[in-house]
């Protein structure tokens, strides 16, 4: 009896998941189809690049710096167990650039950008502002969604670059100030160790996560219903979906890019 219920629930969840995946894919496809078709709302694109990219720099920078610093301490104390403390610069660099930089950016913009996009668009939906756009001969996909998603894709890599650099810098600070590393040697080790492929993978992840974060905000925002409660639900769902998707896609990209 209860076994049937569990199986039914799993089945229902799985179906729901497939339906949602389909809907999101269609939504993403529509959004992309507008990237190349006029009219282009340049002012909207610029505003969104500013809001999504530039204004995220402080929070991304701070989280990356602290993470890099903590990473250096952990690697040092872990490395000291088998006399390998000298690998701190290399491991900090690879850890930040390949994994933590992009993931931190992804999660921070899910918190900051996805939530605000979802709440704003959901409010516009329930107050009929999106309908009003249509009656004013403006396609909401082009005017509201495409600029946000494009800004996410463009600024994701830049934010990741900031996170990578400041993460490495955080490790550098701790290592040179309290772990007794020589600053010049630290920098040289980092630079010699990192490859172009490491950095490129980081940027690719940045673009992917920027896309996911903005797309989820838009999708849940414009599909919101049921008033204020719906706005809250849209915001919550969008952040959950963005965060989980970002971590899942991060795993896939890592597997794809580094195990070949």
């Amino acid at each position: 009896m209860s076994l049937f219920k569990i199986v039914a629930d799993i089945g229902r969840f799985f179906l729901q998941f497939l339906i949602s995946t389909g809907k999101v894919s269609i939504f993403a496809g529509q959004t992309f189809s507008y990237i190349t078709r006029p009219p282009f709302y340049f002012r909207e694109i610029i505003t969104n690049i500013f809001n999504i990219g530039y204004l995220s720099i402080p929070v991304v920078g701070l989280t990356a710096t602290f993470t890099g610093a903590a990473l250096a301490l952990q690697i040092y104390s872990g490395g000291s167990r088998f006399n390998a403390t000298e690998v701190v610069p290399q491991i900090v660099a690879i850890g930040m650039v390949r994994e933590l930089g992009p993931v931190l950016v992804g999660l921070m913009i899910s918190a900051r950008v996805t939530s605000s996009i979802a709440a704003e668009l959901a409010t516009m939906k329930v107050t009929e502002q999106i309908d009003a756009l249509v009656t004013l001969s403006t396609n909401p996909m082009k005017y509201l969604i495409m600029p946000r998603v494009l800004a996410g894709i463009l600024t994701g890599p830049i934010l990741v670059l900031v996170a990578d650099s400041l993460g490495v810098f955080g490790g550098f600070l701790v290592s040179t100030q309290s772990l007794g590393f020589n600053p010049t040697n630290y920098i040289l080790s980092t630079v010699h160790f990192l490859t172009a492929a490491d950095i490129l993978s980081s940027l690719v992840k940045g673009a992917a996560f920027g896309l996911i974060a903005t797309l989820m905000g838009c999708y849940f925002g414009v599909n919101s219903t049921h008033g204020a409660q719906g706005v809250g639900r849209a915001t919550k769902s969008s952040v959950q979906a963005a965060a989980v998707l970002i971590l899942a896609i991060n795993f896939l990209l890592t597997a794809l890019l580094f195990t070949a």
Partner: protein, 248 residues
């Protein structure tokens, strides 16, 4: 001009429109009356393609609304939403001039602002509100800004969803006069939803009463008081007794 042809629409199990037939003639002012929740707003939204009917067709100038490429087509329409639906990220004048700043009807910025201020004056708002944000205005002022936005590009067909709700009697009078002027002087085809009998008398050429998902009566304004229709009589007199159920 606008021809609603057997429009049906339900939300889940809520049958809102059950076969609405209605014709609005060119340069005429049609007023829709009916209790709240009878589907008046839904009906107007089907005409703009914002809500797709489950069945039935709407023709504007013989063109099926749901078959057209939206943007060009929508440039002929203006719409005042029941809740105003102003963009709260834009100042008042940019709301009013929204269409004048992009797309086919784009004008230079100064000219767009000038037109916006002129339209604001027509709805009884001074130039000082132009740079305010919608959230800084009272509900009635927001409604009037929204009205100014609906008429900003002098569209041929305008829908007004409860234009005077939330306004004081004097301002209501101003808005009623404005709508009447727009129809008479500019030859606009207007479709107005209202509960306010003073507005009906001031605005309407034709009146249609929506109830139970159907048009119960449609006729000219002068026939409203001797329609011989029980629904209309009850609504016009605001009486509790009659075919329209009042749950208490």
């Amino acid at each position: 001009m606008i021809d609603f042809n057997n429009i049906k629409k339900s939300f889940n199990n809520n049958n809102v429109l059950c076969g609405v037939n209605l014709k609005v003639k060119l340069a005429q002012s049609m007023v829709i009356i009916g209790g709240s929740g009878t589907g008046k707003s839904v009906l107007i939204k089907t005409a703009l393609g914002l809500i797709k009917p489950d069945s039935g067709k709407i023709f504007v100038d013989g063109v099926d609304v749901n078959q057209t490429k939206n943007n060009q087509f929508l440039e002929r329409f203006g719409m005042l939403f029941q809740g105003g639906a102003l963009f709260d990220s834009l100042p008042v004048w940019k709301n009013v001039a929204f269409r004048l700043q992009r797309g086919n009807q784009k004008r230079p910025k100064d000219e767009a602002r000038e037109i916006a201020i002129q339209k604001l004056r027509r709805v009884g708002l001074g130039p000082s509100v132009a740079d305010k944000y919608p959230a800084e205005l009272s509900g009635g002022m927001q409604k009037r800004v929204s009205l100014a936005r609906a008429i900003a590009t002098d569209p041929e067909i305008i829908f007004f969803d409860e234009p005077t709700t939330g306004l004081d009697p004097i301002m209501s009078g101003v808005i009623n006069e404005l709508i009447r002027e727009i129809v008479v002087e500019l030859g606009v085809t207007a479709m107005t939803i209202t509960h306010d009998m003073t507005s009906v008398m001031a605005i309407a050429d034709q009146v249609a009463m929506l109830h139970d998902g159907k048009i119960q009566w449609c006729g000219s304004r002068s026939d409203l008081t001797n329609s011989g229709n029980a629904y209309v009589d009850q609504f016009v007199n605001g009486s509790v007794e009659g075919p329209i159920k009042t749950i208490r």
